[in-house]
Symmetry: D2
Subunit: 348 residues, 4 copies
Amino acid sequence: MSHDRDFDFRSDNVACVAPEVLTALADAARGSVSSYGEDPITQRVEARLKELFDHELSLFTVATGTAANALALAQLTPGWGSVLCHKEAHIATDECGAPEFFSSGAKLAPLDGAHGKITAEAVAAHLARDTRGVHHSQPMAISISQSTEAGTCYTPDEVAAIGAAGARHGVRFHMDGARFANALASLRCSPAEVTWQAGVDAMSFGVTKNGAMAAEAIIFFDTALAEDFGYRRKRAGHLFSKGRFAAAQFDAQLTGGLWLRLAAHANAMASRVAQGLAAIPGVALLHPVEANELFVLMPDAVIDGLEKAGFLFYRWPTEEGPCIRLVTAFDTEPAHADGLVAAIRAAA
Amino acid sequence: MSHDRDFDFRSDNVACVAPEVLTALADAARGSVSSYGEDPITQRVEARLKELFDHELSLFTVATGTAANALALAQLTPGWGSVLCHKEAHIATDECGAPEFFSSGAKLAPLDGAHGKITAEAVAAHLARDTRGVHHSQPMAISISQSTEAGTCYTPDEVAAIGAAGARHGVRFHMDGARFANALASLRCSPAEVTWQAGVDAMSFGVTKNGAMAAEAIIFFDTALAEDFGYRRKRAGHLFSKGRFAAAQFDAQLTGGLWLRLAAHANAMASRVAQGLAAIPGVALLHPVEANELFVLMPDAVIDGLEKAGFLFYRWPTEEGPCIRLVTAFDTEPAHADGLVAAIRAAA
Amino acid sequence: MSHDRDFDFRSDNVACVAPEVLTALADAARGSVSSYGEDPITQRVEARLKELFDHELSLFTVATGTAANALALAQLTPGWGSVLCHKEAHIATDECGAPEFFSSGAKLAPLDGAHGKITAEAVAAHLARDTRGVHHSQPMAISISQSTEAGTCYTPDEVAAIGAAGARHGVRFHMDGARFANALASLRCSPAEVTWQAGVDAMSFGVTKNGAMAAEAIIFFDTALAEDFGYRRKRAGHLFSKGRFAAAQFDAQLTGGLWLRLAAHANAMASRVAQGLAAIPGVALLHPVEANELFVLMPDAVIDGLEKAGFLFYRWPTEEGPCIRLVTAFDTEPAHADGLVAAIRAAA
Amino acid sequence: MSHDRDFDFRSDNVACVAPEVLTALADAARGSVSSYGEDPITQRVEARLKELFDHELSLFTVATGTAANALALAQLTPGWGSVLCHKEAHIATDECGAPEFFSSGAKLAPLDGAHGKITAEAVAAHLARDTRGVHHSQPMAISISQSTEAGTCYTPDEVAAIGAAGARHGVRFHMDGARFANALASLRCSPAEVTWQAGVDAMSFGVTKNGAMAAEAIIFFDTALAEDFGYRRKRAGHLFSKGRFAAAQFDAQLTGGLWLRLAAHANAMASRVAQGLAAIPGVALLHPVEANELFVLMPDAVIDGLEKAGFLFYRWPTEEGPCIRLVTAFDTEPAHADGLVAAIRAAA
């Protein structure tokens, strides 16, 4: 269904596309280039990412965030491995078993943790348990989302602590960066600090939610991991023939810091809503608002009122009571945010 | 690598993008729409395809032709099945085992056949062999490419005969239509005649090679097959979040017959080259030129000369001697075709 | 390692083999018979099981209980399915991801429940949650162990309630009967009552722990499920060539009620230990003793003492404190049980 | 079906069990031992095999030859690999896709070759073709059967030449030794000469067809390959709980050279039949008789006559004309062989 942009807070994937991305696609649509990622744009994006992350890396574009996560994890763990993650991680709840499928049956080991974040302590405790022995899936990787499904961000110190806890047991470290730009815009740290310097071996890096059309990638900081990954991607049907167009979207995002500007705007819109809600009695935030998502506890009657007013969002049942999820995007305007706050105030 | 369009005959996936497709993408990049294929453009494309094929059908867009083929086949056969196909089929030689992967290990049963086509007789003979018994993979599906890897097309009668041979054994029928537009433009039959009316249960339908960026799909004519296919696609990482953009490319192609116009042009360019070559001694066509690909037998010295002249193409070793593959596309210009012929004449 | 039988309470798989089973194997080792399960012994066992269960069924012998469980579940759920089970089920904790592997990545959905048993309420609550939607694994099957990993048994009513809760959502029902004989000997109900009459579609039926060498099987009460299962078993490497010998072990067990007699003895030995422990202060049972396993809470010092006295068993850490697992078998003698109790009394 | 032993030449898996094996099983059925292969018999067998092969090795028992082959190959190749083998290899024609299943979709690359044997030349030619590139499955392993499906044996030189051809391309080498004893008894070379000294990395080693009940194993000569293989076996359901009984069968076979004695007898019976057939006009051997299988070309009328006379065997259609397969076993008696020859003579 098509909707008024001002009422739609369902997800950042209902948003449209940044004009710069469209322009880049049109620019890329000229002349002949080698297919299957052997084109100059893909090569330029890889070079830019090396500079951005200040590290050697290997880049593999794919069609979706689910593909990026599942293929990356399949590269990090054999089928008899397990992957530690937050119990509400996207890989655990929203990918219809893609990580299990691509890894030939690896298990996810869901951990608890406040505000969508696992802790180094929980990781260490899990890994300390003796599960060596042929009857049990073996911990092989950790996966965290940055920003998280709860709209929060791991600090570089938190990431590094988790990475260190895993490294002590020889466990690999993956980051789901479907909203990495939002995290970075929020944390104001360098990309390196919060990834390879903190022990991350591989990450899913997506800009689809940040104003692209379909631009997701896997980045290996440990490039040895990338050696035969091309085969894995190909046989998953994720090697684009006209690779330049996936690359062009990244290229546009990385030009002049567009990606961080777009993400900072989305984050600012979420903060604006959060500030507006602070003054409304009976309404409370479930999690700190650190990126572009808000989880708002409110009475069912208020939720119903908001829906009747034409707003779109997801109900997000919690143990703490009725709750909704609101997501802002690069194209959410201040007026949209204000309109949403006003509607909640009116309904409350 | 980026190249002069006029010298590049490597593939139709080195080609650029039709302006109409770019415009459609820009038009689609407005406002909020439901994600994951619940958008109005996807719905419109599905409706248009029903009209085009004059049949009920289910549409699933995916990222690549490999994904379309492998996911479709995995829906048609369990892991203990086998898929009859031409020994040079894309699924057999160019997908790095994707059909085997997605189907949990089904086998391809490669058949011989002139000019890239399998015959109903070969299918019937294979199926007549008694392979019932638990030790053997069971024939479950047939897959043909339309147009074929040899640049030829199956006539509606040929397709129907293969379909009938399979149906007698309860075997499903898949068509790889990565170049379906080229076939249709060549055959001048209706889409229905050469698909479901001829027994095709499922097809891969791609327009990427025909002037789109990345627009591939699976179509189920037997919609019962589509029932749980959404799960299969999702866990393969092939459910686009911003589904409208895959759909918009199909929409542009299907508007005003663009797809057939583009394909007819590509075919015409291949014919133009074929006609030009007819007059050159020492040069011969390996296969009839019925779509947008030419396989040209020529002495190694001529091939070397063509390369030195700056032309790009693939060497395609055959038992008949040295050979090259030449592919034309929607954006191949008559002057490009003529330049190629002239260069071959000069080298010969 | 080889050990004195009287000190070894590690598992019923450290036990030896009943003489009747040995005799049956020797008897079967005569003359020529068709291989791959087409032999008269396999046919006789299937007929006997039909009589025993008073129902049509299909029998498939396999090498291990893990194979029986994982292959059965793979037949009940596609890769995008989930299987509800107790969080301490063997399939969840002790099979190194075999169910995930054979099912191409189906998820286990672990449920809580006292004494190793899930409840119909927990099943109903899980299934009532709306997980329809392509992003989520779909509940496709329930699996319970009979007897459970906690040494308890589901009553026929409990099984039927779970079966009914699943049936309301079209979910299949599997029983892990690696210790089915122990359960039956304890429940004193008919095999039918606690299986197909209670909604069980498929069960793993094992007698290895009950005095056989390696005799495990999958039984489908819904024989439609068995239609193509032979292929699944074959390609898993679980179709014995000399099938008569797997069958002969079942044959011996089913002759004259041997299987129930052996299981009743193992259960009685567990009860004897339980009764002995009742009088020892500081020692408590974690679960009711309803089959042939005991979980005994005792101070670490007592555990250490028991080990020093030469007894073999597994430490089984619980939230309730230090605990050990003790397993009796068909060949545990009353004197062994009494010796164990005496040793615990001495250590306490 | 149960049959007279003297008329049954269908396979060596219709044969019974050697008394020594039965005795060993009865002897093993005493007392408590650690389960899951941690028992003294398994350890003794591994030690004996090291001595026999004069090399370090790792042993993993499994239930069937199909399991041994498929699990070994899955350890040698990722899903994007291909395995070179004879086009009539058991792995290619008789395992219902087990190698493809366990390897997550690796391809078999069938090679031609006289008398069931591939040649080093064919291997070298296949590997010399440039298939590097992400679109193609990558050659990762070679698998040969010793003795072959045609009842012939590779000489140590032939094996070494194949091994060397593979090693030049970094390709692993597997031997299917379901009838390894027959090969060794025929070749009269040392086990080492024809395995690791000839480049074999891993082998399937079976004695089921040679008078055991169900005793198959994977042996890794490159023990680095075995490092995590225990997990692969476990999740395939091929880790026997009462591992001592699989081991005991090997133990009996390896005691006093029983395995070679039994195999030599089976081979001698095949030779006896071959010699008898030499004098019968209209009957010819399709392959040299080097182990315990004969492939005999004969007119359909003779085949019919033999069937009418009550003999059991498989028809084995060939391009050379009507053919039957005859298999002798450890328990085929000279009188059985002579009776078979007499019956063929009578029918001819």
